[in-house]
Subunit: 350 residues, 2 copies
Amino acid sequence: MNLKIAVLSGDGIGPEVILQAKKALYAISVAYNHEFIFEDALIGATAIEKTRNPLPEQTLNLCLNTDAVLFGAIGNPKYDNNPESKVRPEQGLLKLRKELGLYANIRPIKPFKNLLDASPIKKEVIENVDFVIFRELTGGSYYGEKVINDEGTFASDICEYSENEINRITHRAFKAAQGRRKKVTLVDKANVLETSRLWRKVVKNIALQYPDVKLECQYIDNVAMQIITDPKQYDVILTENLFGDILSDEACAIMGSIGLMASASVGNNKALFEPIHGSYPQAKGKNIANPIASILSAAMLLEHFGLDKEAKKVYEAVEKAIEYKVVTIDLNPGSRFGTNDVGDFISNVI
Amino acid sequence: MNLKIAVLSGDGIGPEVILQAKKALYAISVAYNHEFIFEDALIGATAIEKTRNPLPEQTLNLCLNTDAVLFGAIGNPKYDNNPESKVRPEQGLLKLRKELGLYANIRPIKPFKNLLDASPIKKEVIENVDFVIFRELTGGSYYGEKVINDEGTFASDICEYSENEINRITHRAFKAAQGRRKKVTLVDKANVLETSRLWRKVVKNIALQYPDVKLECQYIDNVAMQIITDPKQYDVILTENLFGDILSDEACAIMGSIGLMASASVGNNKALFEPIHGSYPQAKGKNIANPIASILSAAMLLEHFGLDKEAKKVYEAVEKAIEYKVVTIDLNPGSRFGTNDVGDFISNVI
Ligand SMILES: CC(C)[C@H](C(=O)O)[C@@H](O)C(=O)O
Ligand SMILES: CC(C)[C@H](C(=O)O)[C@@H](O)C(=O)O
């Protein structure tokens, strides 16, 4: 297979970890005779510094003309401490999601057998946990109108959803459930929010088309608790943008390290693959960041294009690294292995 | 002291658990020579059934003319499965909060020494955890304009905040921190939401008036994870309505059972005390619901009126019940003690 992949390494540890993902993909292309062509482009704070634009035209065009995007991380404390600044790295990511129509963010939560002890949660609670979060990614309060009055004394954000926006991700979630344990949990706050009531209505209607899949509706506050106390109950979690943001980071607690969490953001034509850890500026350049989330994001890329054998190979290599403790310090405090070593080990195993 | 207390037992297990809180308060009044006068009133689904109004005029008037409100729970699955219905029990609670000006919801998170094993989280992670959540309670998307179009294909919710609304709860949070470990963590999503940026600006300004208190700002997605992976870092968490709803339920995972979590909702003149578990309809009438959350809410009521000795007495009685395993089945699966037994034990110890 021929794939043209845009590489947006971004800020902080982005470049270091994405390099390891590229190595893994390169190893796969050699082993399985594919051709992956990588093209780099700017995004985030790095792009602001060089072009004053968190998503330069050139980057967007590249992404529109490639098969997939491999994304590192964005964010810089400079902007965090000054969220009022007009240009922010996050805008690059949000605009990219919108322009590429990446309406479904998919995050699998399945702890590694050899890492059950790394989680703050008890082993018996997280053993055999296996669920996937479908987070709506191009709607909700991320994109609704924002207001701040001239005096800076009043602000508002609108959360909006249309039936269509709910439809398309819901079908994806139910189809995914059909290939799994056949259960969808819709997470909302329908006892308070109008948008949640719309979600509930639309999702219940669509559920009728999937009689083999069971639908459950739970409130976000309850789920925030249950994801920790009883995570085994979940198979596919479906939810709107902000709730999905919160729950999928929370679910990292199950995995033991945020450095293990991969994600795919998909639309009807385009797809982007991204570790969810963010730019982690304190670790930048220290060769200590965990590259596994990026490498697993590359595996999700392979799966997305039907390269299941290849994806499996990557997963197995990652499992081997974990088994042999070739991991970074977040997973083994005394570890002598750095970002590069872990990446090398994994691509060698491939 | 003379106190007139409105008792709104509400739905589901509300009446059973509130009865135990009343017993505890009665025991305190006898032991310390106070006079507590209880007056019952309708709220929630029970009120809808009898008056078609989730917050009857009479109930509101009673609350406006008493010193404090002891609140049970509201909610009935009948309405949950039909969130589109025009009259819902939750409206009663939301209106009551607004009308009484209860802008600060306060939830302490401090696991009991003898219950560290009840949590799904490892003992070493939650040992010595002691923080309190200050959740804004009368603003945000709970009260902003809600829209659903005629075709039922588009919905929106507005999240709004004014400087004043942020001011008053922020001062409370900082004052509380001064009497504790002197740290406030503001939780927001300032990289995306305009309201969050307003919160950050206002809170940072107020922080200057409390030079002895350290302010930290964290994103909600990050906190949803950190509350599980590193809860010891928190002292006072300050946040807006919906984020507070999510985080405070999530924090129940630390306590081991939602049946242990009490809350106070306070304003400038009025105060309401409430277990946070909700109506738990499956347990209604079975004498299995944990009354401790209600009894601890009564303790918060005592504290609110400066009756610290009395509140301490209640805490100690609760600790004794836990120590002697006089607890309901949520805390001890084989327990032979019911709601009533636990309530009796605690008021006898008092
Ligand atoms: C950086 C931020 C805007 C982003 C989000 O909230 O979507 C991040 O938290 C994520 O989940 O990808
Ligand atoms: C019942 C519901 C409206 C309420 C809320 O969301 O505020 C509850 O979850 C709570 O936290 O008190």
